[in-house]
Symmetry: C2
Amino acid sequence: MPLSAAEAARSPGAAPVDQVAVRRANLVRVLREVRTAGPLSRATVARHTGLTRATVSSLVTELIERRLLRETDYQQDGTVGRPGRRLEIDGSAVAALGLEVNSRYLAAWSMDLAGRRLQERRLVHDATHQDAEHTIRTLAGLAAELIDDARLAGAHTAGVGVAVPGPVDIATGFVRSAPNLHWRDVPAAALLRELLALPDEVSVVVDNEANLAALAEHGHGRPGTADLVYVTGEAGIGAGIVAGGRLLRGSGGFSGELGHIQVDPAGERCACGRIGCLETKVGLPAAMRVAAPDLEGADEGAATGAVSHDPQEQAGELLRRATAGDPRVLTGLDEIGRWLGIGLSIPVNLLNPEVIVLGGYFAAVAPYLLPAAMRELRERAVAGDAAVCRVTGSALGFTAAVRGAADIIVEEIFADPGRVAVHV
Amino acid sequence: MPLSAAEAARSPGAAPVDQVAVRRANLVRVLREVRTAGPLSRATVARHTGLTRATVSSLVTELIERRLLRETDYQQDGTVGRPGRRLEIDGSAVAALGLEVNSRYLAAWSMDLAGRRLQERRLVHDATHQDAEHTIRTLAGLAAELIDDARLAGAHTAGVGVAVPGPVDIATGFVRSAPNLHWRDVPAAALLRELLALPDEVSVVVDNEANLAALAEHGHGRPGTADLVYVTGEAGIGAGIVAGGRLLRGSGGFSGELGHIQVDPAGERCACGRIGCLETKVGLPAAMRVAAPDLEGADEGAATGAVSHDPQEQAGELLRRATAGDPRVLTGLDEIGRWLGIGLSIPVNLLNPEVIVLGGYFAAVAPYLLPAAMRELRERAVAGDAAVCRVTGSALGFTAAVRGAADIIVEEIFADPGRVAVHV
């Protein structure tokens, strides 16, 4: 990455490159210290980081210029005289934008670097019956609105994260395949950058929805959990894996394809062309077919009219019927739960997570899935009860992926604060 | 962890604890810098780490006292006058001991902190027909010999790593279950510590053999590979997972149970009691049954006498027959390869590794397994060819686990150099 003008000014010709790298690393250390333990005085930051006070002062000056830190007066309890000054995260001038492409809706979520939500939007959009470019064009329109809103609120959008339901080549932002969108090799990042006319310093990160939802659950839902698996529960079934506190993307960004692991060699053909994938057993269409076959094939405006194809509405209808004691739904969800337990035993045995978070419709009807799922899981966990993890519904509901898409941008900025524009 | 005497001396009463933590972190930084980029002058270390020269000198003095670093003269090319001095890793006074319990043998491997091998031993031992305590007593005898040998060579053994074929509770060193050893809840670390009368500062780390083999492959075999899965191929089938450059142990240390994931719901009962586990399809006993049924049940001294139960000898016999064109072996290995591909598709889809390393008998007969395995893998990799990883035989052969057991001790010491005794 080329040096920014500010960095170049600080490291004239003769300075070795590793001094620039050291300064960059120290900016991150100071920022991280204030973020996790702040508000803090400059002296405390120096003590905690092991840097000299002079170095800390120089770094703090830069971080204040970039509006990542601010310094406020405070009066210690029971003292008089000149107040002390403490550093805290500012971040109000910098926004991160999260976007999500679902087969049934588009969503957007913007927040500033201090984690304050700026805007939230959800748009009904049937991506399965539109071509990829049209969908991305609609998404860009939504993004442009939120970028404008952020600008009016005084925040420059420093990056855009995009959640998609399929494996992504992270480095290029190519969506390899998203079967439920009928996408194949879509250059999503490049298209979005072009449509929004984003300059190079604004990053566009496209990632799998399950990865981003896992990040969001890890950050907001359960910050203390180092080993977490998030399982989506919509038309598609995917997993986002946090291991040792970090997102596990795999070497090409293709991790988490839990939905297409075979669980029944004698089973049905999946939309992906394979036989007996977990998705054919526990995907939302399978659940509707097993638990509420009268609604199968229901569409917006169709004759039955009882429920739309919106996954959130379908999940609500399943829950309503289960709560009312509908025996077919109860039996159906028990059967789905059994297959879910079989599916979850795969990450449990391979990864030994501390917690599995169920997203989508799984979260809505969890009480009706979990008894059978946990029974199956207990039988299949090789290391016995000690390895059987907690399985729980998502705390973030249907916003997990889009919030994770914004989070990933926030983390990217905190990992390289030098890229944020200087305000003087 | 309590402070060592040396640390306490450096941080008298009034010093805040975080200064101790900072010093400890800086010791690690200096050591890591020399380890990865050395030999280096003190000035270069200061520049690379961003620490002051005075701080570096104080840290270097401590690391030299602990015999982790040494300083040597060097004459820059084409210069005269006083030679410069450079720091490099010493480590000759500190040894790490790796041990392995296999169902058919015990192994030991000792090395110093600079990575030089001191001793290597392998002992035929049928752990399946002995109780756990007897096996650990035999292992302790082997360990005592290597600790003595290291002492004679001037190296103090700072830690003992133990590889076992089953899930381990890392924190306590309890082996939860090792079906192929008939072990259940064996306090391996405590027993070994007691038998060897090890003082508290000598650590005993018990871990799954696949985890340790994966570490060894990552460190020695393929240091550039961030995402690697190692699959054992003996009586038991397990996986060791390195993701993002780090071993993935899971929340309780129970990761990698690939062998007991169900691949055939209509299959046979496994030794673990479950149905259709991958191990029933590709474990070494299954391979012998399918590819060389005339040798099935062969034992040392049995009537057939052709081959023992030693996994290395069995693998050799399979390879000999396959090379000779024995049609039953070729057909059998092709069938095993097909199931292996089905099994490998699970970590490929869930973890997207860059490379899968096959250990045990898989490595020996890889050319006869891989065509069918790769065919199956290509069909099952959801993200297509981009996600199909390289699959290759282990470069370390049957020593991978025991070398990994020594490696883990070496890494532990480099991560906390303050625990190494001071030599003055």
